[in-house]
Symmetry: C2
Subunit: 451 residues, 2 copies
């Protein structure tokens, strides 16, 4: 029987295990699946850790998740069509849940589909190579328990380790003498640390936007966001402002292009992440920036130089869990032989078609349409239960408008499920004044009781 | 010609390059030396970086050094006997220099001995294995420049990567919900971040002692040090206190064994480091805690299971640079065939002798004598220029007494050089009130001018 390695038990790895298990339940002859996960529990980034830098085993901490994180997009755009929010929570919940609620939801499906049996926890993958003579992958793993290493052979490898773990860390003159903390958003954990402080944030994407709002919400005195190309331009609440690119830091004074300056107490680099797979041999290693359609991935997943290797979730993401499902079902059907792969030139032609279109995209609305079409293409090829993808697409557009209307208020909106039609209730407390991000408080209906 | 790999260009690696270069200058036939250093410059820990967690290449940051760090022992106890402080600075300087001064000193000798030519910077060692058939080591390195990997063959490998880089990180109940920063001293960089804060420090060794003093000096409101076994028991200045072991954290309240509790804003784990060599194959990997005489290292350096492998500086350290020199000269002479190694049972008997004595040590004064004897033993075997080791030993004892007398004042003492006899001048400003740790300010003689 053939053997398949799945690397990582986060949202994409779990989606892959689930996809195989669904086929098995329907009677398909499924290969042996082994999932390696370096953390001691599942959930990937959603498995919050207080640790930063290196973990208890001396390896890089996987998690980039911070406390008080709430979904920044409507949950209706990431709903599993085969395990709805209604099913998991037993009734409707608001559209923008905090981390703990989404963690509960993802792992809820994994429990239901009983895939924990396939996962080897506390097991770090050290090397993946391909042995052409044996036509098989050699996967070397280390068990943290006794720190023993071993190498196993697999017919296919599916990499689901994500790409929001390894920080991209630019340096600016003066960082080495700045009297205060300089950190990447990967190491950001608790906004209350910055209460009363003047903060400098570098970046202009989701992390910059969210950490600026979070820190202000939890008491920072001021947040200055420095952008390299374009400001985000939202209607920021008082206390947040955007300035041009950072030029240098002198003491605690940040100097920006154009001559403005600002005294700050801490600097947060929201400068993104790198696709980084040091455990994969060079000739198998995906090398790309963060984009909607990386090169060399047929249908966004099949590694064309060696189609027995697959990568999940390597795209820039509007769609998340839903896209991982579509990819996982597609990958599964390739593995099961249900979907024949075209020859190399056919795969490259298909990739070129998508990448040509990618080159012509102008802004988020185009991006959303592009990724919607990508999902539609994948979903048409498998039996992943369909949902109202057009409604999800519209939700993204509406959500973008809501953010333009109010960056502190967009999470107080409610959407309809593209899976069940259920309309979400409004949260009992406006997001901007809700300091408690626990599942218990979130699920409590009605207005909060005074405390 | 045989080839020798030296791993790391910090204090011990540089000592090794220097030792070989000294032999070459005296006409010895020295093998080809290649030193791999993952940082872009030399100095190891002493090469300060503002970065924490992962570096710009996605690898763990090597440095554990923080700003405003001053030597915590007299410089006279770490003086190179073949490159004295008098020689480097052109005259006497005080006994407790800040980091920049020591960095200048270490790298000053490396410049003088012209060893930079042997170092490949920005090059990370990924794997060291031994090929018995070829009787040689295979060393796989990655160049950060083009991220290319290659494997080279060496006859001997000398590991000088240190053991103060990979944090030992215990977890306590409540860390995951503590509203503030939790960090290891490895990631501590700038004390001013904690000005006005109530700090909890876990630990009872050098890091705990020094970070407690540093943070108070730079404005922390209070520092509570929690010890597991024994308090350090120094005469702490107001604002620092020692309490029993941490039991748990609830919200921002730390609860200690015995029932006391304290509200704190941040937690610093000064819980030590791990000997961690993931790049070394299991059968070649030193596995030890922090102690004066680890097992399997003959004369503290030769890896007995395979004596072609050597480890530098793996001991718990009173002596530092001086000990690295003694080890490096010893290792060099083993490599050059000047020192014959006894058979395996002879090496083990010698190790057993030292380790038996180690078992009988009681406290720091015994430890100092033990490590002094170890140095004496090594130095007798090579031509490393002798110095007054007995004076250095006495200095350590005196220094311990000074610390008992005044933990904030011991750095204001002056010692005589065991190499030159030069008596250090007193620093122009008491350490406790000196906030400027720059080389320029330190070297300025006399009382500071008002500014």
């Amino acid at each position: 029987m053939s053997r398949i390695a799945v690397i990582g038990a986060g949202p994409s790895g779990l989606a892959q295990l689930h996809a195989f298990e669904e086929a098995r339940r329907s009677g398909a002859d499924v290969p042996e699946i082994v999932c390696f996960e370096k953390q001691s529990d599942w959930g990937g980034l959603w498995n919050y850790t207080w640790r930063t830098g290196l973990d208890e085993h001396g390896d890089p901490v996987h998690g980039s998740m911070y406390r008080y994180l709430w979904s920044n997009g409507p949950k209706e755009c990431l709903e599993f069509s085969d395990y709805t929010f209604d099913e998991h929570f037993g009734g409707p919940i608001p559209s923008f849940p905090p981390r703990e609620v989404l963690y509960d939801y993802i792992t809820g499906r994994a429990k239901k589909s009983n895939v924990r049996q396939y996962i080897q926890f506390d097991t770090a993958v050290r090397r993946i190579s391909f042995d052409a003579a044996r036509d098989a992958f050699q996967v070397t793993v280390e068990s943290y328990g006794d720190r023993s290493a071993r190498t196993e052979e697999f017919d296919r490898v599916i990499i689901g380790t994500g790409h929001f773990s390894i920080p991209n860390m630019p340096e600016y003159p003066g960082f080495d003498t700045f009297p205060g903390r300089v950190l990447h958003s990967h190491d950001f954990r608790d906004a209350t640390e910055f209460a009363g402080k003047d903060l400098l944030i570098l970046g202009s994407s989701y992390s910059a936007e969210d950490i600026a709002l979070q820190t202000l919400k939890y008491g920072a005195r001021s947040i200055t966001i420095s952008y390299r190309n374009q400001p985000m331009g939202f209607g920021w609440p008082e206390g947040i402002s955007e300035v041009a690119a950072l030029d240098r830091v002198e003491g605690r004074t940040a100097h920006f292009t154009g001559g403005r300056s600002r005294d700050v107490d801490a600097i947060v680099l929201c400068t993104g992440y790198r696709h980084h797979f040091p455990f994969v041999d060079e000739e198998l290693r995906l090398s790309t920036g963060n984009m909607l359609y990386p090169a060399k991935l047929y249908k966004g997943v099949v590694w064309t130089p060696n189609p027995k290797l697959m990568y999940l979730a390597m795209q820039d993401q509007y769609y998340t869990f839903t896209m991982f499902d579509a990819q996982a079902f597609y990958v599964r059907d390739v593995v099961l032989g249900r979907i024949p792969l075209p020859p190399a030139d056919g795969m490259e032609a298909d990739i070129a078609h998508w990448r040509d279109r990618q080159d012509a995209l102008h802004g988020p609305m185009d991006d959303i349409d592009f990724q919607t079409d990508y999902l539609r293409d994948l979903m048409a090829a498998t039996d992943y239960p369909s949902f109202d993808l057009e409604l999800a697409r519209q939700h993204f557009a509406t959500w973008e408008h809501h953010k333009e209307e109010s960056i502190t208020g967009y999470r107080d909106r409610a959407f309809a499920s593209p899976c069940t039609g259920t309309v979400a209730p409004l949260h009992h407390t406006p997001w901007w004044t809700e300091l408690d991000d626990s599942l218990a408080t979130f699920l409590r209906s009605g207005r909060p009781s005074p405390h």
